[in-house]
């Protein structure tokens, strides 16, 4: 019954979109961070999505292939009184673009909702299939 695979496919997509939301949350939380745990400024992270083909099938779920750090230029702010300022008085902030992250968040949340709806439809259809002939 192919409808059971819908749970696998949409479930993987929900999980991937959930991870994307996590990364967005991490980026937004660190939008004003000056230094990360390694002393370097925080760099915005992005997930790489990849189609995850079901064995022996041409349909695919989604899997997260890895995390990449964006190479956008770091934001420099002139603040000589800050203890982390360099010799010219500039403090290096993270390269998180708050606008990009908000767009990313909306996109992830819409995709999440879409996949939940797909799963619910499959559940309803399977329920009706179970009642077939009664």
């Amino acid at each position: 019954m192919s409808l059971f695979n819908v749970f696998q496919i949409s479930g993987s997509a929900i999980s991937a979109q959930g991870k994307r939301l996590n990364v967005v949350a991490s980026n937004l939380a660190n939008a004003d961070s000056v230094a990360g745990p390694d002393g370097q400024p925080y760099k915005a992270r992005q997930l790489r999505f990849e189609a995850d083909y079901l064995p022996g099938s041409e349909v695919a779920g989604v899997k997260v292939n890895g995390v990449t750090e964006t190479d956008a230029p770091l934001r420099k702010v002139h603040d000589p009184s800050n203890p982390l300022a360099d010799t010219e008085g500039y403090v290096t902030h993270s390269n998180v673009s708050v606008i990009d992250e908000m767009v990313n968040m909306i996109s992830a949340s819409r995709s999440y909702q879409n996949n939940v709806e797909v799963m619910n439809t499959a559940r309803t259809l399977l329920g009706k299939t179970l009642q077939m002939g009664q």
């Binding site: 019954m1 079901l54 695919a60 259809l125 002939g133």
Partner: protein, 135 residues
């Protein structure tokens, strides 16, 4: 093929193809954000004709098989469909060809057809039952 259940068999073939299409559309929706993913679909009427053309591959063989196939195994009762690629409506920078609006519309349409087919089967069963009981 049993003439009493022939009608139900025909609907069952459509039902199995509809659930297959539901899976393909779910895969398209799931991969709406995957870079480079190519949306897939198949010609339903052609696949149905193909399934009805060789009745040995459909219901009669599934009844003969006692073991249920695993969820990830295509299995004997998965209809063979000729999956094709959708033509992209608008080009995207990441090469993804999923048009989410179109996929959602197709998904809703397919669910409705699935429910309609289920209802046809239920009505056929009721008809046969009323013929059996004779009341």
């Amino acid at each position: 093929m049993n003439p009493i259940t022939a009608q139900i068999d025909r609907h069952a073939q459509a039902l199995s193809l509809l659930s297959e299409r539901q899976k393909v559309l779910a895969s398209n929706i799931a991969n709406a954000d995957t870079p480079g993913f190519q949306a897939r679909d198949f010609d339903f009427s052609q696949a149905l004709e193909q399934a009805r053309g060789n009745p040995s591959s459909s219901m009669s063989s599934t009844i003969a098989k006692p073991t249920a196939p695993l969820a990830h195994d295509p299995g004997p009762n998965t209809p063979t469909v000729n999956l094709m690629w959708r033509t992209a409506g608008q080009p995207t920078p990441d090469g993804n060809t999923v048009d989410l609006d179109r996929e959602r519309a197709n998904f809703a349409d397919n669910s409705l057809r699935y429910e309609a087919t289920l209802r046809f089967i239920n009505n056929d069963v009721k008809t046969i039952l009323s013929a059996i009981t004779g009341q």
